[in-house]
Amino acid sequence: MNTSNTSSIENSQLAEVANNLREYVTNLAAAPAKYKIEIADRTGHSTVADLSLEEATDNILENAENKARWVFINGEKFEFAGGNFRTQENVQKLQAQLQAMNDPAVLLTGMLVGGLLQELLSLE
């Protein structure tokens, strides 16, 4: 009798642990992803972390549009279509790319151009 009582107690404890674990995994899956952005600037660089999808999108758009920075997500250049940064199409594309990657590394760099020789050739 004693043995069976003990095993039922153990079973109930195990069931409780399993329930807790399931709940934890469910919560983890339901928790919104957090994004981190590294921005090249005059201070070496600055990092903005723990951003929601909307905050990350807004931060990227702000930097690309107003601070003339290029956007690289996991090392791939993100191109804004149509010359306008905040179109619905661009915002959706950006958010889809951020969501598709697990913990994406977003780097915003200063812009580069072709040098003087190119300018001279184009003048000719």
């Binding site: 070496g44 660089h45 090392g75 590394a105 200063g110 580069l112 190119q118």
Partner: protein
């Protein structure tokens, strides 16, 4: 001037029409090219004389008149000297028409919408003074003058006669706008008045601007009555042409935005008038006499009236901003007691407050302003007969009244605040801040264009550390842990302000003993550093009087600071730079990982090897030059003028761009086709890879120059 006959004919026709009204005028014919090869001619009539007001009135219907274009000394002045005096006042400070501002809402209840987004050309002006009236013969005329939106000259915008419908609507607190419709060279002018300005009236003005013909549908062809404005607006919209609707559409959205913003202002207005007890804006609970946000509060009888004039309730602000505005108003009020106080008093305040004991104050000697409370701490500002300022009976530097009041928001008890006041009475807030945080200078290489434009350095600017030596009670420069050098702090602070203000990245011609050098220099961060070195020498030099053996006193100058001390003090710049470069290495590491770049030896230098879609590249770390890895030929890629980065950020940007080379061809033209070996030495780009020890040289130069000047 060459002019075609048909164009001359038009000008002549215009002259024939206008010359019926003036007696004499000077005519200017100018031309400009308006997107074509044929010049466009325009005429201006100046120094005009009119026989009487009737003629002036008739002329104004055909052509606007700038006050400066009237010749007062001739016919008009002979006929109506009283009118001349009044017209001259109109052109001075007594302009009748002024653009609508938020402050007008306090004075005129007719202003129910303060435009902020709607462009000025779509808004009416407010009649902010009674119009100038003048009677001639059987008629009375009303004159309204304001600024011409295009030329900024004072224009006689409206002259109306008492038999015209518009005359009755030109009253103070009403709104008026002139509309122009041009067909060829001919311009038609019409005026519209309104007895109030609300959202519907704003729409009607915008509609009439978009479609000139709608003006005819208004009451008497010139008036918008606010009580029937909603109906009028609907009527006009129905009658508006398609072209008019297209022009009006963007204005429609802007007016609606203004309306949304003004809803906050309406609530505040009701609070001021006592119609409602309290409201919450930006999480701050406002009543007529208080503003509270969590533990921070301010209570004053005239709080909302003060804020109504100075605070943009539609913008972003916090409780500290509210307190700062009220504190600034108190400082201004105290200043009114002593409008002509010499500025020298302010200069002496630091030293005086520090050295002299506080004067004995007797009751009734001071004039106090009404008491108000910050965080429940009662504050009584006052000014003495000798114009010294006091808060809660503690003498405060006159320039720091608002700061001292504002800082009450950081205290919880009256005793704490009193202690703070006594402390800043002995030594000013500015001096406290300098001793606590150091004195900042624009000597950092990462200084931005905006920082150059601002008079004060930003929070990123390096600071020179100061301390109070407790043994001899002197202000000293903290060179390092053990070494302290006495400094004239008052002089250093004043000169620091001037030096930072002058460091504006503008060019100048330096002055020598014999005149000016021909070679221009730039007042940049390097210039600031060398000036600072000279400034430190100056501020650490003190006069010393010594008695000789024969009893004769001799004054000598003693410089307490050494060359090594100045180098050590300026090394704060290097420390900052080192930190920046170290930080940029982290950014580079992330880029290296993402691009799978590998560290290699290339042309005898350290470089990164990165594979793109089009080809493979080598990026030399020392100078950020890019080469085709296979051919070792240079490919010309440089930082854009908008480039923002420091240290190794340029390498990171290149690695990422080269990894995506096929896509980046659009932005970096030199990625297309063959390399450009000829351009390898065209650019003289010298990135910051390490901190160069140049301070020794800089300080030596300054000392040498100073010694030379003293010798001369």
């Amino acid at each position: 001037m060459v002019i075609k006959s048909e164009q001359f004919k038009e000008i002549a026709k215009e002259y024939q029409t206008l010359s019926k009204y003036f007696v004499r005028a000077t005519i200017h014919i100018n031309y400009h090219y308006d997107n074509s090869y044929s010049p466009v001619y325009n005429t201006t009539y100046t120094a005009m004389s009119f026989k009487n007001v009737e003629k002036l009135h008739e002329y104004s219907k055909l052509h606007p008149i700038a006050l400066q274009d009237l010749n007062f000394s001739k016919y008009i002045s002979n006929l109506h000297s009283e009118l001349i005096v009044k017209l001259r006042r109109l052109g001075g400070d007594e302009k009748v028409l002024t653009p609508i501002e938020a402050a007008h809402a306090n004075k005129y209840k007719t202003l129910k919408l303060v435009p902020s987004e709607v462009p000025y050309q779509y808004q009416p002006d407010i009649i902010s003074r009674p119009p100038l009236e003048f009677t001639e013969g059987n008629y009375t005329y009303r004159f309204l003058a304001g600024l011409n939106g295009v030329t900024s000259a004072i224009a006689l915008n409206i002259i109306s006669r008492n038999d015209e419908p518009l005359y009755d609507y030109l009253d103070e607190g009403f709104y008026v706008k002139s509309f122009v419709h041009q067909v060829g060279r001919k311009k038609i002018y019409k005026m519209v008045a309104a007895n109030a300005y609300d959202v519907h009236v704003a729409h009607i003005f915008a509609m009439c601007t978009a479609d000139f013909k709608l003006i005819e549908l208004l009451q008497n062809g010139c008036f918008i009555n606010v009580h029937s404005a909603e109906m009028t607006r609907l009527k006009l919209f129905k009658k508006m042409s398609d072209a008019g609707k297209r022009a009006y559409q963007p204005m429609n959205a802007l007016i609606e935005n203004d309306y949304k913003k003004n809803s906050t202002l309406l609530v505040v207005g009701k609070l001021v008038e006592g119609e409602i007890e309290k409201t919450t804006i930006n999480n701050i609970v406002f009543t007529k006499s208080s503003a509270v946000y969590e533990q921070v509060s301010i209570e004053a009888d005239d709080l909302l009236e003060t804020l109504y004039a100075d605070l943009n309730f539609n913008g972003e602000f916090d409780i500290y901003g509210v307190i700062a505005i009220y504190a600034a108003r108190i400082e201004k009020k105290l200043n009114k007691f002593a409008p002509d106080e010499p500025a020298k008093a302010a200069e002496d305040d630091h030293a005086a407050a520090e050295v002299l004991p506080a004067p004995a104050i007797e009751a009734g000697e001071k004039t106090s302003l009404p008491v108000f409370k910050i965080n429940n701490i009662s504050i009584t500002p006052a000014v003495s007969r000798t114009f010294q300022r006091y808060i809660n009976d503690v003498r405060i530097n006159k320039d720091e009244i608002s700061k001292a009041i504002h800082r009450a928001s950081c205290h919880r008890t009256t005793e704490d605040y009193k202690l703070f006041l006594k402390s800043i009475s002995r030594m000013s807030i500015k001096w406290h801040d300098v001793v606590a945080n150091g004195l900042q200078f624009k000597i950092h290489s990462t200084i931005s264009r905006q920082e150059y434009q601002d008079a004060a350095p930003s929070i990123d600017a390096p600071a020179i550390k100061l301390c109070i030596d407790p043994t001899d009670k002197q202000f000293k420069l903290q060179v390092d842990k053990d070494r302290k050098v006495r400094v004239n702090l008052s002089k250093l602070i004043k000169k620091a302000e001037t030096l930072n203000k002058r460091t504006d990245a503008k060019t100048f011609y330096p002055k020598s003993q014999l005149g000016y050098y021909r070679r221009a220099e730039v007042r940049d961060y390097n210039w600031c550093a060398s000036e600072l070195a000279g400034l430190l020498l100056d501020c650490c030099t003190f006069s010393k009087t010594v008695k000789n053996e024969d009893g004769i006193e001799k004054t000598t100058e003693e410089t307490l600071i050494t060359r090594e001390d100045i180098v050590a003090l300026l090394s704060v710049v290097n420390e900052q730079k080192k930190a920046i470069i170290e930080k940029s290495k982290e950014f580079l590491n992330t880029a290296v990982k993402l691009t799978n770049a590998t560290s290699i030896e290339f042309l005898g230098k350290k470089a990164y090897h990165v594979k793109g879609v089009l080809r493979e590249y080598a990026v030399v770390i020392e100078n950020a030059k890019v080469y085709d890895y296979a051919t070792k030929q240079y490919r010309c890629i440089v930082n854009d003028k908008h480039y923002a980065g420091a240290g190794y950020d340029d390498i990171a940007a290149r690695l990422l761009a080269l990894k995506n080379d096929s896509m980046m061809q659009e932005h970096i033209g030199t990625l297309k086709g063959a390399a450009q070996p000829g351009a390898e030495n065209v650019h003289n780009y010298q990135p910051d890879r390490d901190v160069a020890e140049q301070l020794d040289e800089l300080v030596s130069n300054v000392i040498e120059k100073r010694n030379n000047n003293q010798t001369v």
